[in-house]
């Protein structure tokens, strides 16, 4: 390590973040490409349990956080599908459940490698309304920062939180400067059910009206969260004619493409959501207003586009083009070619 810089993998970064966040136990089940988060955590000597499947891992995290212990899991693809059972309970009961998702090709077993095809599942999975916090980091340093924030905000706001990344990011080794995070503070966990009190806590209601009311309260809280933590990044948007919208690792490639095209005087900008849920719709609509085109670029068949379009100002009239490469990495050269065709 050189002056607080390390050359490490995304998985190791995630593990470091969980350790620094004060997580005490990880429940997990091996699944590529997320296994290294599990084995990495174990190799650091931390407490864990390998469960019989992802369903058990999810519910064990629920039990742990109910008791007030900072706990998390990591999974991918088909494991992510199974995790919806436990994660749904966390959504319904407002549990500070934290999970790291390593997107891989889907559906079914797909590939063990990479995709951005679990956006819908992460944001809107289970049988609820998507009241979950979802972060999509686009660099190793963001993997660290947003894993830390996932823990903080899960416990502060009581919404289950996801660090949504992918197989490429977790296995990429890169230079990470931890110096800039040294003052980041943790929010403490606390028991949600206390000895000496009597709490009767349900997730099933007898009448429609009871659940409706509960959901209205949750929605109010979720909107407050949006105001406080919804985050996005604007790159060269002010005089841009077309705006690219991308997230995660693809947004990293887009940034490079934008930089190179700008040096050729092409007027392109990038709007990058950092929180997929809640989406920074205020910034989104400010950026796209008056622009000629939106270009969605993602390694899925429009999952990001669907999510973002849902929050576009309904009065907005704008051309939209799509570069959709489900399960495939997207190179800077491809992005530049696509933008050039559309500018």
């Amino acid at each position: 390590m050189k002056n607080n810089k390390k050359f490490i993998t995304g998985a190791e970064v995630a593990v470091q973040a969980c350790i620094d966040a004060g997580a005490e136990i990880m429940y997990g089940y091996p699944i590529t490409p997320g296994t290294e988060v599990f084995t990495g955590w174990i190799n650091r000597g931390k407490d864990y349990l390998q469960t019989e499947d992802e369903i058990a891992a999810g519910f064990s995290v629920c039990g742990a956080v109910i008791a007030g212990q900072k706990s998390f899991t990591a999974t991918a693809g088909p494991g992510h599908t199974l995790m919806q059972d436990g994660f749904s309970m966390a959504e319904g009961m407002r549990l500070p459940f934290v999970e790291i998702i390593a997107q891989r090709g889907g559906p079914s077993s797909g590939t063990v490698i990479y995709s951005q095809q679990e956006v819908t599942l992460a944001c809107l999975g289970g049988n609820g309304e998507g009241m979950r916090i979802v972060y999509s980091p686009s660099s190793l340093e963001e993997v660290y920062l947003y894993t830390r924030l996932s823990f903080n905000y899960a416990w502060k706001y009581r919404f289950p939180s996801i660090l949504l990344t992918d197989g490429y990011m977790l296995k990429t080794r890169g230079v990470v400067n931890f110096e800039k995070f040294k003052d980041l503070k943790n929010i403490d966990s606390y028991p949600l059910i206390k000895e000496g009190e009597i709490k009767h806590w349900r997730n099933i209601y007898t009448f429609e009206e009871e659940l409706y009311e509960e959901l209205q309260n949750q929605k109010k809280d979720f909107e407050k969260v949006r105001d406080e933590i919804a985050e996005s990044e604007e790159v060269e948007v002010n005089d841009a004619e077309v705006i690219i919208i991308a997230h995660g690792l693809v947004a990293g490639a887009c940034k490079q493409a934008v930089e190179e095209l700008r040096s050729e005087d092409k007027k392109v900008g990038l709007w990058r959501p950092i929180t997929l849920r809640p989406l920074d719709s205020k910034s989104l609509n400010k950026v796209v207003k008056g622009k000629q085109k939106i270009l969605f670029i993602e390694s899925s068949m429009g999952q990001l586009a669907r999510l973002v379009k849902d929050e576009l100002d309904p009065e907005l009239s704008i051309k939209i083009e799509y570069l959709e490469k489900p399960a495939l990495g997207i190179e800077v050269s491809e992005i530049k070619e696509f933008i050039t065709k559309n500018i």
Partner: protein, 160 residues
């Protein structure tokens, strides 16, 4: 920005080479990314390593056209066909096999031969800390079987 793609069969030492190269570039204070790529099988598939070295932050670890590409097997060659491009240097085992046999470089040390050649190129472009690389290699392999062969291979590669 320098883009390096290493390709070989699993077991030919591609990841070992990546580690030495990347750590040496990191030691030089540069930004480095490395992303490996394997098949599904635990043994016998193609092993790839994408390496980027730059003096500023690298936003995306993969690329289409490397500046320098190493191909260590027929299986690997097939896999990296669409990474060929203009102006790149390709170190292909088929071009060196005879030379290596003539010089009595053992099969097990072929990857170290190429490491010598690659490090020489990277050093000439100021991308690695050469002393560190040599020490790292020694640390990793000197206590293992065949160190003399490896050393010989390295020096031969460096000279070539």
């Amino acid at each position: 920005m320098f883009k390096l793609l290493l390709a070989g069969d699993g077991g030919q030492g591609i990841q070992l080479l990546s580690n030495i190269i990347c750590e040496s570039a990191f030691e030089k204070g540069l930004e480095v990314t490395h992303i490996p790529n394997y098949g599904l099988e635990q043994r016998g598939g193609v092993s790839l390593a994408y390496i980027k070295i730059d003096n500023k932050k690298i936003p995306y670890p993969k690329f289409t056209t490397p500046d320098l590409m190493l191909v260590m097997s027929d299986q690997a060659r097939g896999r990296v066909e669409n990474h060929l491009g203009e102006g790149q240097e390709v170190l292909d085992i088929k071009d060196f096999k005879e030379k290596l046999d003539n010089e009595n470089i053992v099969l097990r040390s072929w990857n170290i031969f190429f490491l010598g050649a690659i490090l020489k190129r990277l050093d000439s472009e100021g991308l690695i800390d050469m002393d560190f690389a040599k020490k790292y290699l020694e640390n990793k392999l000197s206590s293992k079987l065949g160190w003399e062969d490896n050393l010989k291979a390295f020096e031969f590669g460096f000279k070539s």
